[in-house]
């Protein structure tokens, strides 16, 4: 699987994504600068976590206007895989590659801790190696992870099985609607999620629940 990680000004999980991809795919991802207008030929584009443009104005808003995002959209339109993690998820909603918006956490505080989720949907290139309903623990680290969409959009997401990860009831760290942690686009090749799979690929770091996500992609794309 060939992959690329987009680096926005003040992305800060770009190296973490790179490390995880290298470890699990055996090859270095391309690191792509936000100002570039073309992507190398890859199967997967990762929009990493961080504070692109300081998260000033709104998280992900300025990054969504970067030159590279036109290329990312084109890649997605052609069916290419796009994974947005944390700030990357925010960039995807601001770019309208995914519906809804990520608002300030309900308790107004940044939150960093492991959270328990269930894998809601395994009919996807991102999650095929998980079991449906499987409980996984990923860390979150964000101030704006409170997923919002109008009721009709939420119903549609649920109806089309596009809610991929859901916080376990009682462990919702941000007030997200219907405990949503991660969603797919209509064509199921773009996924965004707030928790960090790339931080749980090594037992020393508190778990390996993120491994299957990357292995799903490797299997789907080989």
């Amino acid at each position: 699987m060939k992959s690329a990680v987009v680096v926005f000004p003040a992305s800060n999980c770009d190296r973490d994504a790179q490390t995880a991809l290298k470890q699990l795919t055996g090859r270095d991802p391309h690191m792509v600068w936000h100002g570039d207008s073309a992507l190398p030929s890859v199967d997967l584009v990762v929009l990493p976590g961080g504070f692109s443009y300081g998260d000033y104005l709104r998280s992900g808003a300025m990054a969504s206007q970067s030159a590279i995002m036109r290329a990312v959209k084109a890649h997605a339109d052609k069916g290419g895989m796009v994974l947005g993690i944390c700030n990357g998820f925010q960039v995807l909603t601001e770019s309208h590659l995914l519906p809804g918006a990520l608002m300030r956490n309900a308790d107004l505080k940044f939150v960093c801790r492991p959270v328990a989720m269930t894998v809601e949907e395994t009919q996807s290139a991102f999650t095929r190696k998980y079991d449906k309903g499987q409980r996984v623990v990923f860390p979150v680290a964000h101030g704006d992870g409170n997923y919002f969409a109008d009721e009709a959009t939420l119903d549609r997401l649920e109806g089309e099985n596009r809610v991929v990860f859901r916080y376990v009831e009682g462990d919702n760290p941000n007030g997200s609607a219907r405990n949503i942690a991660g969603i797919l686009n209509e064509t199921r090749n773009v996924m965004g999620l707030m928790p960090h799979p790339e931080r749980v690929v090594d037992p020393l770091l508190g778990g390996t629940d993120g491994v299957a996500l990357f292995q799903s992609l490797i299997e789907a794309l080989s």
Binding site: A10, N12, F51, G54, F110, C112
Partner: protein, 739 residues
């Protein structure tokens, strides 16, 4: 040549200079200084930049060891951690700004210490913060806690550097002067360390980062006639942090450092352009000529005085090899940062500043550095209280325990650390909540253990013994995770040094740190002094915070405080005499801060630390906790809660009564757990090594803490008390965010 402003005694006083200091300036200059020059003297000769009250005494600290690559004197200290790698670290205070504006004060404190570390070529890999607030019931405390914690998170999280630990204390002595000390640890290659010596003449001096505004120019000087007119609003002395720009500055600097274009580089911290240029010239033995017309400016009509004294954040000054300007500029443009060649190095050893075609300052650099005042202020030693106070032996042990683990100074700091991204960079192998945090050296199996420690109530009772204890506890926390303690940074927070009794505290604390660091082979490689922490004549407790770093060869062989398996034997290492003086027990249960601080036996610290570390390195022990505040019973509770595994324990190996046995704060002690057969071998080895030890209990299947003769308490009860206080306290009034 200078636009003349009459230098009146009032103006001199406004600049914080004494009459004697001003006479010395006249001598050194051979003429009356210009206003700009007076401003430059005022900041360079300030306590903050010149360390004039402490410099004489700081010389007594040990700063050398074979693994020290750079001791105090540069932006941060550097140690050898093997394989060509270096760890670079320092701790710094931002106390006063954080009291005035907690969010921005703490945020810019974090930004400042990070620049100190990355200006030397290191990528910051971990942050710590040591915080002291006033008593919880003080009307300002909650707001300050909220703002400081959000500010530290706001800056550190955006930078993508994990904040992995620290300390939080509450005490009424900090009601009017909170302490916000931040520590940054960075990682560099030994052959890529950048210093601040601007060697050689004819080299371009470049300005990089944010534009200069009128930030942080001292309020008192603004009162002088020249600056009165234009200011429609009282100018703030608090700066606003811009972590986004700092993140770009970090990446751009590291990119430039990968080339060989840099001769010297230094962040613009306090006193911005003035101190960075003077220090670089001083260290390089060169002169510096600046043209302020070229300084990127955020506001219109800035005077030379304002530009030289501005403390705008997120700026750096560098000296490049000639001809490398374009290469450097391209990197900074890519990162969308300001870049300007603003001067040149000379061979005159003078700092010359030009503005609008005029020379506004021309002064010998040595006058700002070597010739800065050094005082041996009078000091008086205060007799330390003696004796082990009495206690009421009839109080029930376990309800006291519950009170203690739920006390403001003792409860879990989860509410704090969950607002910090402590897992970014995917190398945090020991997270907040243990003895020392451990971050892996990226791409290797090595780890750095990091801690900050000081117990102000001990230092108040006995500044020397308290300072020794701070070093010893830092040493212990590092040994307790299985790392070898290598070096320390200190942050000396005290009151007004012009009072002999405060100066006495400073001298005693420095002596204590020196003695402990020498005995433990634990050199001081960087540090910071914050004096005048007083309000209405009330000083803070002496608070010499110690930050320390240790190295472990293999992060897979590391101990944590959590009990891991049922049925393991628990050993107490060290001598338990039941020292209750200045203990948490006495304060929280009997309501008294009384008695002697616990004495520190440095030989025992060394022997016990090395013994414990060897067991962990050998992979024989993975559960270890040092004993500090609250003594043995608090340690056992924390171990049980962290692992969610209960234990039973009783008084062993001594005639000490239950309360002092379980709550005494004797030093040089650890609790470890291991399978019974392994523990038998460890006992034998301890005996052979002459290390005092006792088997005090074992882990068990029930989720309880059972104490012989005192009954049993459910872990759930303890957990509720331990986890409960902080969130409940902070929830009492919602404080809306700044952004």
């Amino acid at each position: 040549m200078f636009s003349m402003t009459a230098i009146t005694p009032a103006l001199v006083k406004d600049h914080g200079l004494s009459e004697a200091e001003y006479r010395r300036i006249l001598e050194l200059m051979g003429r009356e200084p210009s206003l700009v020059e007076l401003g430059i003297f005022s900041v360079m000769w300030s306590e903050h930049c010149s360390y004039k009250s402490t410099r004489f005494h700081l010389r007594r600290l040990p700063t050398k060891a074979p693994w020290v690559l750079q001791g105090p004197g540069e932006n941060a200290g550097v140690i050898d951690i093997g394989d060509g790698d270096a760890a670079i670290f320092k701790m710094e205070s931002h106390n006063h700004p954080s009291f005035i504006e907690p969010y921005q004060g703490a945020a810019t404190g974090v930004g400042g210490i990070m620049r100190d570390v990355f200006t030397m070529g290191a990528r910051p890999i971990a942050m710590m913060n040591a915080l002291r607030f006033g008593e919880p019931s003080h009307p300002k405390t909650r707001h300050l806690v909220d703002g400081v914690v959000r500010g530290i998170g706001g800056y550190g999280n955006c930078m993508g550097v994990p904040t992995v630990g620290g300390e939080v204390n509450f005490h009424r002595c900090y009601n009017g002067n909170i302490l916000v000390n931040a520590m940054c640890v960075g990682l560099a290659h030994q052959d890529k360390i950048f210093l601040s010596a601007a060697k050689g003449a004819g080299n371009p001096v470049v300005y990089i980062g944010s534009k200069t505004g009128r930030d942080g120019i001292h309020g008192a000087t603004m009162a002088s006639a020249e600056f009165d007119d234009a200011s429609e609003e009282k100018r703030p002395t608090v700066q606003v942090g811009d972590p986004f720009t700092e993140k770009l500055l970090l990446e751009a600097c590291l990119e430039l450092m990968a080339t060989d274009a840099i001769i010297a580089i230094q962040d613009m911290g306090a006193a911005g352009l003035t101190s960075s240029s003077a220090e670089m010239g001083d260290k390089g033995g060169s002169g510096i000529e600046l043209n302020l017309d070229r300084v990127p400016q955020r506001e219109e009509g800035m005077t030379a005085y304002e530009m030289m004294l501005s403390e705008s954040q997120e700026r750096m000054l560098a000296v490049l090899k000639p001809g490398r300007e374009a290469q450097a500029e391209a990197i900074f443009r890519k990162w969308e940062l300001d870049f300007a060649v603003i001067g040149i190095t000379t061979d005159t050893k003078r700092l010359v500043v030009k503005h609008k075609g005029q020379v506004v300052a021309d002064m010998p650099i040595t006058a700002l550095s070597d010739e800065a005042p050094v005082y041996q202020r009078p000091y008086a030693a205060r007799p330390a209280p003696a004796g082990n106070p009495a206690y009421d032996a009839k109080r029930p042990l376990l309800s006291s325990l519950k009170t203690i683990v739920g006390a403001p100074d003792m409860c879990s700091r989860r509410w704090v650390w969950e607002q910090y991204d402590y897992t970014v960079m995917t190398d945090t192998v020991q997270q907040p909540g243990g003895d020392a945090a451990v971050v892996r050296v990226h791409g290797s199996n090595k780890g750095l253990a990091i801690t900050t420690d000081v117990t102000p109530r001990y230092c108040k009772a006995d500044p020397k013994e308290g300072a020794k204890q701070a070093v010893a506890e830092a040493w212990r926390n590092i040994c307790a995770v299985g790392a070898k303690p290598l070096a320390v940074t200190d942050n000396l927070n005290f009151g007004n040094p012009q009072k002999p009794e405060i100066m006495g505290e400073i001298v005693a604390a420095i002596d204590g740190i020196g003695e402990a660091c020498r005995a433990l082979d634990f050199p001081v490689i960087s540090g910071n002094c914050s004096l005048y922490n007083e309000t209405n004549g009330e000083g803070i407790f002496p608070t010499p915070a110690i930050g320390a770093v240790g190295l472990m060869g293999d992060v897979h062989r590391m101990a944590t405080i959590a009990f891991k398996r049922e049925g393991e034997a628990i050993m107490l290492i060290g001598d338990t005499r039941g020292h209750l003086g200045q203990s948490i027990y006495l304060r929280e249960i009997e309501g008294r801060e009384q008695g002697a601080a616990p004495p520190v036996d440095l030989a025992a610290e060394k022997a016990h630390g090395e013994f414990v570390r060897r067991l962990i390195e050998q992979g024989r022990v993975d559960t270890c906790h040092d004993l500090s505040d609250g003594g043995l019973l608090v340690a056992l509770s924390e171990m049980a809660l962290a692992g969610d595994i209960g234990c039973e324990a009783g008084v062993a190996g001594t005639t000490v009564e239950a309360i002092p046995f379980f709550f005494g704060e004797d030093q040089a002690r650890y609790a470890i757990a291991a399978p019974v057969e392994e523990m038998n071998r460890i006992e034998q080895e301890a005996r052979d090594a002459g290390i005092i030890h006792a088997i005090v209990g074992k882990t068990h299947a029930a989720k309880t803490l059972r104490i012989a003769g005192a009954g049993e308490i459910a872990l759930a009860d303890l957990r509720a008390a331990h986890e409960g206080w902080f969130p409940a306290y902070m929830a009492k009034e919602e404080v809306p965010p700044v952004n």
